[in-house]
Symmetry: C2
Subunit: 560 residues, 2 copies
């Protein structure tokens, strides 16, 4: 221990074999399933031109700063310590803070804009809870150095592609997009704009964020005097007047209003959509929002046009009409929707949605969140939407901390464990759980023969092991093979050795027969065969293929 203050363990008692509180281990298929998922996501990020970046786990506290997106959680913090040369170091709490440091440190060498992705663990020094760990994976993609909303649109499209490639079917997710400028506009219109109103704005944003859970009534209570929940706990409200609350509620319920006005949410003709979009963009040109005036060219394919996003933006514009920031935000959303349409992404995949808030500080423009829309039964037995698996947005001030120069940036972070849980819930986990062929040891003196067998199998690309435990109890070897989910046990006793043969025991068929042990006709089928030693590899291969065919076909019970 180089740190003088760290006690050297003079263990009178034995050390405890335990993970530290809030940490966990991942075994076998848990590791391979996550890796398979991240590999697929990386494939999409790569295709979009993003380059990988791997920073170290350790940063100076100075460089990390305190920019956690979710500052309204208790005990938020990092794991930090003082280095020998007096620097304070800490484990990164996300992948964005290190990116900001890198963007500043290498600003003369990196391409600009810089598209990068990063995958790896982050650490939070918070109270662990059920399913809540102090180390977890994040999977981020960010574009640094572009102020164009085209960068935000691109990230949303990429997020949509990433969800589909890992196995979330279209229709089972939606990427929701909002804009902090619109939220600011709503605050302005509701008379909550001043520096002295920061506390109220915080309460309002947190209330909006809870619309899915609390419903209109709950949110309205939080905007006013406050709300008592089922357990009796009281949450203080923002103390808005009815008129103020009406503005916010009009904004929050935009989704419902738009849904009510759309007769057919999914498919509306091009003409209608074009009219709305032209109106919005014409409006933008008229009021002269810089960088937003666009000419509509109408080359969007008619067959898949969807009106919903345009209607939502129209609705938002009507609410924030009195706020310059609000108008700019709504028109940015219009531009994002148009750019996505040009690539074939409509409201069924990427939806303009005013309910997205994404934390309090940090974000400065478009914010987005991927929500899985299929139902699961939660730990309390309630059926509910699976919910959010990814989120992000535009954060233009992070690099400025270092350089003094504003560097616009936008990016997304996928919650790796949440998405894995979703894939597991949908039965889409690509886990490779194939156990190895186990070569058993009948005669300890002939270990070289067994090693030769396992060597041949491996050379042929077959996953295989020789049993390395104490071979005396043969039953233990079969128990071991069972624990390893082994498909085949290879057995060669003295008799087989003399005749140059081996026994192949089909452990899959064997376990199937055990399941249906009452069925006499199955008991008669051979779960093991004796083959020539020289045919070992060929016959193991054939048996594995038979097993695969059986797995891919209907279950055994249906054969009977």
């Amino acid at each position: 221990m180089a740190n003088d203050k760290t006690p050297v363990a003079k263990a009178a008692r034995r050390p405890r074999a335990e993970t530290p509180r809030g940490f966990r281990d991942y075994f076998g298929a848990e590791v391979t399933a996550r890796k398979a998922m991240l590999d697929k996501i990386a494939e999409v990020y790569h295709r979009y031109g993003f380059d990988p970046l791997e920073t170290s786990a350790v940063e100076t506290v100075e460089a990390l700063g305190k920019f956690l997106p979710d500052v309204d959680r208790p005990n938020e913090g990092v794991f930090g310590w003082q280095d020998e040369d007096a620097d304070w170091l800490a484990l990164r709490y996300d992948l964005t803070a290190p990116l900001a440091r890198v963007a500043a440190q290498y600003r003369n060498d990196l391409p600009s804009p810089y598209r990068r992705y990063a995958m790896g663990p982050v650490w939070r020094n918070e109270k662990p809870g059920p399913g809540r760990f102090r180390q977890f994976y994040q999977c981020d993609a960010d574009t640094v150095g572009s102020g164009s909303v085209a960068a935000d649109a691109e990230i949303c499209a990429m997020l949509s592609d990433a969800l589909e490639i890992v196995g979330i079917p279209r229709g089972d997710y939606v990427v929701k997009v909002n804009n902090r400028k619109v939220l600011n506009g709503v605050m302005e219109v509701a008379g909550l704009a001043g520096d002295d109103k920061e506390a109220e704005r915080g309460i309002v944003l947190r209330a909006i964020d809870k619309i899915d859970r609390l419903g209109d009534e709950g949110v309205r209570a939080l905007l006013g005097a406050g709300r008592k929940d089922e357990s009796g706990d009281f949450t203080k409200g923002a103390g808005l007047s009815d008129a103020q609350a009406n503005v916010v509620m009009g904004f929050v319920s935009a989704n419902k209003a738009v849904t009510a006005r759309l007769s057919n949410e999914q498919d509306v003709a091009l003409a209608a959509g074009d009219t709305v979009l032209s109106t919005i963009l014409g409006y933008a040109a008229a009021i002269g929002i810089p960088g937003i005036e666009r000419k509509e060219r109408g080359n969007i394919p008619a067959e898949s046009f969807r009106l919903r996003n345009h209607k939502t933006i129209e609705h938002l514009l009507s609410i924030v009409d009195q706020s310059v920031a609000g108008r700019e935000g709504a028109l940015e959303l219009a531009e994002i929707a148009r750019l996505l349409e040009s690539q074939g992404y409509f409201a069924d995949r990427i939806r303009i949605d005013p309910s997205v808030v994404r934390g309090l500080g940090y974000y400065t423009g478009p914010v987005y969140e991927a929500e899985l829309t299929f139902n699961i039964v939660d730990e309390k037995g309630y059926t509910r939407n699976f919910g959010s698996v990814a989120g992000g947005g535009r954060y233009d001030d992070l690099v400025k901390r270092f350089t003094g120069q504003a560097v616009p940036a936008t990016g997304v972070s996928i919650g790796v464990d949440r998405l894995l849980a979703a894939l597991s819930a949908k039965g889409r986990m690509a886990a490779d759980t194939a156990g190895p062929v186990v070569v058993t040891v009948m005669d300890r003196d002939r270990m070289a023969d067994y090693m030769a067998m396992v060597g041949e199998l491996r050379q042929a690309g077959i996953r295989a092991e020789v049993y390395l435990g104490n071979p005396k109890q043969f039953g233990n070897q079969l128990k071991y093979a069972d624990k390893r989910q082994s498909p085949i046990a290879v057995i060669q006793g003295g008799d087989e050795a003399l005749t140059d043969e081996v026994i192949l025991k089909d452990l899959i068929l064997g376990s199937k027969i055990a399941e249906s042990a009452t069925l006499e006709e199955w008991k008669g089928r051979p779960a093991q065969v004796k083959v020539k030693r020289e045919d070992l590899v060929e016959r193991v291969k054939a048996m594995l293929e038979d097993q695969k065919a059986m797995r891919d076909a209907k279950p055994l019970s249906e054969w009977l």
Copy 2:
């Protein structure tokens, strides 16, 4: 910052954008090359029946203990801090200590023997130096719960396969195997066995470890009074008598002795080899070393038998004949050699070699080390062997710390950065450095059109980007494409838009032409073509294929 003692940065000045001392960032191809290499190694580990395990970066100091294999380095230490609930936590310094904790914690659930592999960063709180970082990758495979030397033999075979699969050709590496018991036997025979001789043994082991660098004379000096190196620094010796030193030197120079006695190192007939092995194993049976007596069955293929390992073991036996531990160690090596031969691994790939020491504490039986035998020119301009890239051995006491019960274990750790450097030196790096097709922005108002183009390219599986920086200076866009190593720029100005065309600029051919700018005939060739907008994807694909064909064929200069 949850830790009260951590200062909150009240930055009057701007934070420095710097990695902490001794840490670094990995960009683009650095990340993908390492990932490609680790993926291939994982494939081998998987085929051998090893399961992945991912433990968290953080362990309790109590669980970690202090079992660094290289304890004779200065400033050795870990990064540690005190948790809120008073536990001392630390970053893992290797992947073996966490494995020992896992093996103890889950001993009732894991298969036994438990074969596991692990890949990931580890952290060392040591003085950073050139090319020496405080976070680096390890890639380990271990078998816990098997006392059989078959487990050691298997790891050596797997290491050999892993090196070949990543691109180190057979003949460019050798896995050297020794046994700590043989080293102990040599100490015993040399009269260095007692508890009071620990310091001398340490000096002797370190001297043996340096045989490649110091040669016989240097080692002999260190065994005696001591050695003065070129810089004039004096290293105190072990103070052995000539007789004692002769024993050690006889052991150290076993390689040379064996080489001298073998007329043809690579190919010697089966008969000769069998005779030697039978002698050794007959000897083992005669003296009754438990678990070593084996009958030889002679089913080793004659055509590839190699005598070297047997001769080395014979030589070792002659030296440690007076020590029980020494004899047991030599006979374990004989068994390892025989098991490897049964799988076709001979001394050209896996060599019994008495010069391998592998640290001081920790290891209890067979030790092994993979050395790359091709030459490189080092940073000082000297030509030398590339050297060690992996090492490991048997460590039977690590799990016992937790449970009180001895659990035999053996395993290897691959130095990921070293092996990557070797692949780079051999030009075997599988880095995917293909830059994206860049769709340039000639008219900011038509961003939707450019997004549509890039969307189509990506849908076709082509890595592509739209330029997201300020599009005003077109030169900047081409500079950007150059920095991105882009193969093709797509350009559509107003004229092309009117005729529904796009320009494809071949940036590879363009740069080739720039290289050969004096050649008039090359200047005339079109580095850009105008194509119909609807043919964009097809024509980009064709151009990428042409470029690939050109890359795979002879260089352009040879065409002329």
